[in-house]
Amino acid sequence: MTWLDTLRNTNRSRFAELGFPKTGQEAWRFTNLGALAGTPFQPAPPAFAKVAIETLPSVTPSHRLVFVNGFFCANVSASDILPEGVIAGGLAATLNQHPALIEAHLGKLAHDTNHAPQALNTAHIADGAVLYVPKGVRVARPIELVWIGTGANEPLSWHPRLLVVLEPGSEATLIEHHLSLDDGAATFANGVSELAVGAHARLHHYKVQRERNSAFHLSTVAGRLEQGAYYEGFLLTLGAKLSRNEIKLVLAGPGAEAKLSGAYLVRGQQLCDTTTLIDHATAHGSSQQLFKGVIDGAAQGVFQGKILVRPDAQKTNAHQLSRALLLSDDARIDAKPELEIHADDVKCSHGATTGDLDDDAMFYLRARGIDQDSARSLLIDAYVNEVIAEITFEPVREAFEALASAWRYAG
């Protein structure tokens, strides 16, 4: 398809000019991609899952689509019937069946020509996932994308693309489950997601990333919310050597609402970067962000959050908070909350806190017979569960609580 070739080629040359971001660039000053740029990654060949779907991990009972190194695996994906008109499947297959639909949406939200990882992804678009929900349709069953990374010997990279289009008044719950099946050489998953949430549509979008500790995981999300649309996003990060979730949401229509939260639990040499931009473009929008980190060992957390309120965005309500719990002397957090406000009748707040476990609470628990390790666990769980409680879909909330709790024992 010529439009797609043009898109790929433009971005290929653009990435050749840009190269990987360096810490000299403001947006990347805390996250060093040197090790990533220095690894000779080979593009992952189309792969298929050799295991039965029953044996693959799942966050919750759902309509599951399985991807191996970015390629859709129909043989192990759900084939049950979705409501009429709903499309949930691989990008390459959908491109063949509904070329006009893909052409109308692909590259329309993620088109920042100065964003190197996004350009790299676009240059390599081969497969990925598509979710399309027609006007007024509510998909009751959650759709889970299981993104499996694998590859033992040579470093492999892949660039999955996710396209979500919710037509006006529709509703869906999307779960992303990123994991590695095995241990081995470095992997590089460089995903780009485009989320078009139509007027009064509602998207619940929950992601857990628990890739192996040789993995690099970059994710760039570009979302657009039309009038009265609702987006609820949650990011749980447990894995990868280096990960960055970069999310840009434009509240394009009046009265749109975005709730974006996340928890990251890292240790050892892990780095987890969360970079958000909430762009309030019109009036009566609201956005709420809460991110909490638990950082142990010599791990590093990065939080860069920006709220942009444009001149027309009167009556905006925008709040953002980053909190980090440092469990060791070598753990660190770099937090950069930012407000840029061009309207005068708005309610906005932002903040960042850092601390360690509360001594008073530790002593209170121990004075009641609870040993030090158990007391720590109880307090860490409580800390993390407070933000996981932001997830309104209960099965995911419970699954994420269990995954976060298991993290403590894996150390």
Binding site: D358, D359, D360, A361, F363, Y364, L365, R366, A367, R368, G369, I370, D371, Q372, S374, L378, L379, D381, A382, Y383, N385, E386
Partner: protein, 250 residues
């Protein structure tokens, strides 16, 4: 049960306790009264095992064991219970999870079988009822949004569940109105018995009208200045701590 001999303790370089001697037998209720800064809270924290205090001399023996050598959780398991002056709020941990974890930790250390969720709930509800508390307190996060009286009652509930031998009540009356004080005192009194001892630490006599002690000690300047029966508390109420060289602003 408890023998405190010549106890000296400091916070940083500052000596707080300067030679405390105190002997408590099973069944006894002792009160320690003293003005602010006399070392009352330091004594209770040292007995419970809080970090940040250095014992520079003396000993504390509890049922023949060196109490100071045990970590706080071990002390709790052997039956030492500190009711806090300011019970701590722990957001995100439900009271029932906290109580069940604590109870089972203590039972495990005592060589008793752990309670499952149903057994625990049955016991906790019974204790709540006994202490005039609602079950609803079990569902809320530990002490979060509790009134002063509810926090203290929650401490007494923990006491009732953990079944201690030596209870230290640190300024339990602070922040309580008279009704809340009566309820808390009733809870404490219901747990008095020949096998239990109590150490009631307070600034004011008021509490001791409800929890009547067998012995009263006056603590000032890091030492016990005088000991006597319950009538000593009334004397202090009337005359203040002036005779011990303490000048408290009215």
């Amino acid at each position: 049960m408890l023998e405190i001999v010549n106890l000296h303790a400091s916070v940083g370089d500052r000596p707080i306790l300067k030679g405390i001697d105190l002997s408590i037998k099973a069944g006894d209720v002792h009160a320690i009264m003293g003005p602010n800064g006399s070392g009352k809270s330091t004594l209770s924290y040292i007995l419970a095992g809080r970090d940040g205090y250095t014992v520079t001399d003396g000993s504390v023996t509890y049922n023949g064991e060196d109490l100071l050598a045990l970590p706080p959780e071990r002390r709790a398991a052997t039956g030492v219970f500190l009711a806090f002056q300011y019970p701590v709020e722990i957001p995100g941990v439900s009271n029932s999870t906290f109580l069940k974890t604590a109870l089972n930790a203590v039972r495990r250390q005592r060589g008793e079988s752990e309670l499952d969720a149903i057994q625990f709930l049955k016991l906790a509800r019974a204790k709540c009822k006994q202490l005039g508390m609602t079950d609803e307190m079990l569902k809320r996060a530990v002490n979060v949004g509790f009134s002063g009286g509810e926090k203290k009652r929650n401490d007494i509930l923990q006491m009732a569940l953990l079944d201690p031998k030596l209870t230290i009540l640190d300024e339990t009356d602070s922040g309580l109105d008279i009704d809340a004080l009566r309820i808390v005192a009733d809870g404490v009194n219901s747990l008095r018995g020949p096998n239990r001892a109590m150490l009631v630490i307070t600034h004011y006599q008021r509490l001791l009208s409800y929890i009547v002690p067998d012995y009263v000690h006056v603590l000032a300047f890091g030492r016990i200045q005088r000991s006597g029966g319950k009538e000593l508390a009334l004397e202090l109420e009337a005359r203040g701590y002036a005779e011990f060289g303490v000048n408290e602003a009215a």
